[in-house]
Symmetry: C2
Subunit: 268 residues, 2 copies
């Protein structure tokens, strides 16, 4: 097989398996760069329909209805569904390139079920109704063969120049870091929002601070950028905040835990 | 006393008490807008010198050497030093406007020690060597009288249009929210940095994700912007991450605690 001639025509026909947040951002972004989606599969037809209509694809809610002649199947499902459905999804479609987008599922999930496979993991947070600029997203790729890797990189390069190879173990470590840097961070925002709402104060007051906190770690390492009472060891402030938080015992406990964690990291 | 004529000349002569991070950002920013600093006081002469040289002021490390004819004393010390030093600082200087910048110290700290006093609390994070654009900073002010409030707002308006009044209780609640939105958030960044370093992976891979996470809460409430395994209830991912984190027991415990907290907030 001639890799470059193959890759020039790749992918001619793609099926998106999944219509959740990742799929709903990824498929339209690829479609905007000329990728033809034949079908969108979702267990919920209305979800499949919603996405399919945006990119001129057919919506299907049955695995049997998924065509068998696509040259690439992009799978963005929950990890549980991905593990559960892979045997049925790939059956009769083994010749195509199978790609999943999950951070913490090993590529080898597809081994024995497909001949060519890989992973395309976008390091980003996707929310409904919030557009994502893929040119700013890092894509981590892994593939079962040089041919599959080339095809995958070709697909990825439609979206961004930030393409990095990472094996399944590295990708999982990156996913853990992403949960900490994004999901836990947003949870802190949410806790602040709830707390301020309870006090009749506007969350918007935090936005310049939030922006600066994010901006600063482009210049300084986070361990060097740490500010606040816990890193200063300012027990006066910490104790007075804990007292104020007595009405919100869960938040109070989290304040204590995170302040201790800041102090511990400082001493390491 | 004619308030407007007083305020037009205010402040003619300012002393900065403190030379830490807040003072080192605040004094030069005010100086750049024409505020004359007579002196910088710090218990450490070298710190006082460093800041004083930038703004053409005299450096002093003794409270007795602080001049008594300034019309405004700006105090940016740790909470402990602020509480401890206020009686000595104000003695013989009772006629001036006394202003501290602490989030969690009540304005009434100055009651009985000065005639006119207030608080100017900048809702921002200040790191050494990282410039702060004060036009984007919210300043929360509180004062002991209408005259003091007008003077304080006049001073604040040199830096930003985002000036809000907040009493000591509200300011403390805002400070707690700032610790959560900024200090705890940066700690999450730091935990991700440490984790990635241990895995030989670059923290820089997180930056687009960090930026997007911060950007998103300008559009969505944080409680609506939450993504990740904990909000999805994806136990498969959570358990696999906890297993991977077994080598970092403290981080593992924090991952568990924050995931539980996300799940709890979702159910509320």
């Amino acid at each position: 097989m001639n890799v470059s001639s193959t890759s020039q025509n790749f992918p001619r026909k793609v099926v998106m398996v999944g219509a959740g947040r990742v799929a709903s951002h990824l498929a339209p972004a690829l479609h905007a760069h000329g990728v033809a989606f034949a079908q969108i599969y979702s267990r919920t037809l209305s979800s499949a329909n919603q996405l399919a209509q945006r990119i001129g694809a057919e919506a299907v809610d049955s695995i049997d209805a998924i065509c068998s002649n696509a040259d690439c199947y992009l799978v963005s499902l929950t990890d549980e569904a991905l593990l559960q459905l892979t045997p049925r999804l790939t059956k009769g479609r083994e010749e195509a390139l199978w790609v999943h987008t999950a951070g913490s599922v090993p590529m080898q999930l597809f081994a024995g079920y497909a001949h060519q496979f890989g992973v395309l993991y976008p390091m980003q947070t996707f929310s409904k109704g919030v557009a994502v600029d893929f040119t700013q997203v890092s894509l981590f790729v892994e593939a079962s063969s040089p041919v599959a890797l080339q095809q995958l990189k070709q697909l990825a390069s439609l979206l961004t120049t930030h393409i990095h190879e990472a094996d399944s173990q590295q990708r999982k470590s990156l996913h853990v870091a992403a949960v900490i840097s994004c999901n836990f961070v947003n949870h802190c925002y949410a806790l602040a929002q709830r707390w301020l709402e309870q006090q009749g104060l506007p969350f918007e007051a935090m936005l310049p601070l939030i922006d600066e906190t994010a901006r600063k770690v482009h210049q300084l390492k986070p361990t060097e950028a740490q500010t606040g009472p816990a890193i200063r060891g300012d027990q006066q402030v910490i104790q007075s905040h804990l007292k104020l938080l007595a009405s919100s015992p869960q938040l109070q406990q989290l304040y204590r835990t995170l302040s201790e964690s800041i102090a511990t990291l400082r001493e390491e």
